[in-house]
Amino acid sequence: MELYELNLWMLIEGLKAGKFTPSEIFTSCKKRIDQCEENIHAFITRTDDNPQPGSNPDGIFSGIPTVLKDNLCTTGIRTTAASKILGNWKPPYDATAWKYLKDAGAVLMGKVNMDEFAMGNTCGNSAFGPTHNPNDISRVPGGSSGGSAAAVSAGYVPFSLGSDTGGSIRQPASFCGVYGLKPTYGMVSRYGLISYGSSLDQIGPFARTIRDLQLVMSVIARHDPMDSSCFREKNPDFTHHEDVSLKGKRVALVKEFQDFTLDAPISKAMNRTCSVLEAEGAVLTEVSLPVVARYAVACYYALAMSEAHTNLERYDGVRLGYTVKDAAGVKEMFEAVRSYGFGSEVKSRIIAGTCLTEPSRCDEYYVAATKVRTLIAQEFARAFGEADFILQPVTPSLPGKIGEVDEDEMKGYETDLYTLPVNLAGLPGLSFFTGYSGELPVGLQLIGPRWSDPALLDAGTVLERQLGSPRIANGGVK
């Protein structure tokens, strides 16, 4: 077995026992990247020719390679958010989540691909071209954190970080066959994450086992004074326990989702997972989320676009990124920079956000959406009075082919119904592996109440024990 095939916890234990060295791990991962990258195109910027050693040789992740979604700031290393507008920007500071990993000794292999400013669900909406799914390189890896999921799936690194505004960790984790956690809003500092929708964005990990997710969370889920939305008093314990049980836990299905169409492999996975849960002693139940089912998609996009339009106002070519010289005036400069620098999906969302927040339309659309969000959060709060977890799909279908375009964007947005509501209510969501349909992995999602992240991962441990762990994808290697 090659070292790149080992999971994070195995690497940590092997290093401790002196079975291999950090340098051997690095060499093995680098070799794997060299072998597959031409097929997968996960990287925007590779740093493995000039590795950035972690700052703590005694840290828990000392000598462990990782990659970061390219919307996480890294001191002195190009950070693009997959957009032309950021050009070759090198941030003067680290995102806190990366700082915590670096302090724990992690080694950065590079910055990976995403949909521009995290707007998209294919990882094809990038100024650097599409990333390919390591399980079938003709298919999309999902998005927006497609590079982070693909890198873990293909064995480049044992874990990575991404961000999730409306499903951008859970959907690519499901498409690539890895585990992905969207933590409770406020569980992980957002400082140094390039903003998309600030009330929805959350950083989280990808890995090939639940135990590995727990290890990463134990490092990054800490208060940060630089993010006032980051929890202060809570003290989450992400210790891994093999002997956890779901006995007596109430796991709910959503009544209103039962009528929606799912691809056969996904509905089979739902049935199989329900059987596993019952065999493990969980009590299957049902909750009703009518507002979520009918209004969550519209509510989410109204808020995400409104916040995006505000967040993206800062890109004007003055302080960083792509710029023009000798513009006639400042207005002409802003127009030239933004019209060239943003891709078409981003432009559409900026225009929509500007439209919804104009004084004449604000009450009708933006304010209404913030009220619908209240109803959605209340609905989830009621549901979690009746259930400990909610089980549902991540997406209604398996990953599509690269280049397939849905002419009706709104239809594409509707496919995000299973992931977006979690961000609206600030809940944690775990995308977990259930098995394969042919070459393609099939993932599902378990959701818990706010701050239940450790319990959610414990439930994930039980599911992994029964459903099995994913294999490393072949990465298009013949």
Binding site: A298, M305, V318, R319, K331, A352, E358
Partner: protein, 96 residues
Amino acid sequence: MKLNSEEVNEIALESRLVLTEQELAGAVRYINNFLNMLDRFKELDLKDVEPFSFAEALECPLRDDEVIPFTNTQAILDESEHVDGSYFKVPRIMEE
């Protein structure tokens, strides 16, 4: 159609975006489809509903008011092509 191409173009210009003809046609279709989707809100009685906020916001005060010097200002200036000394310099702002 809720917004015509002239109105969408005006909104784009407010956002400092100059669209090509093709982009504008796409934006008009997109924004009208999107606004149609948002019409669903009208089915709900939202009169007495408060806008959303995270309840924990009450537990998240501003950080302690301590001065923490940021020493890497040169790195910030190095990223801009519009620097004059320790200032950013922008083109003319006043219109003629």
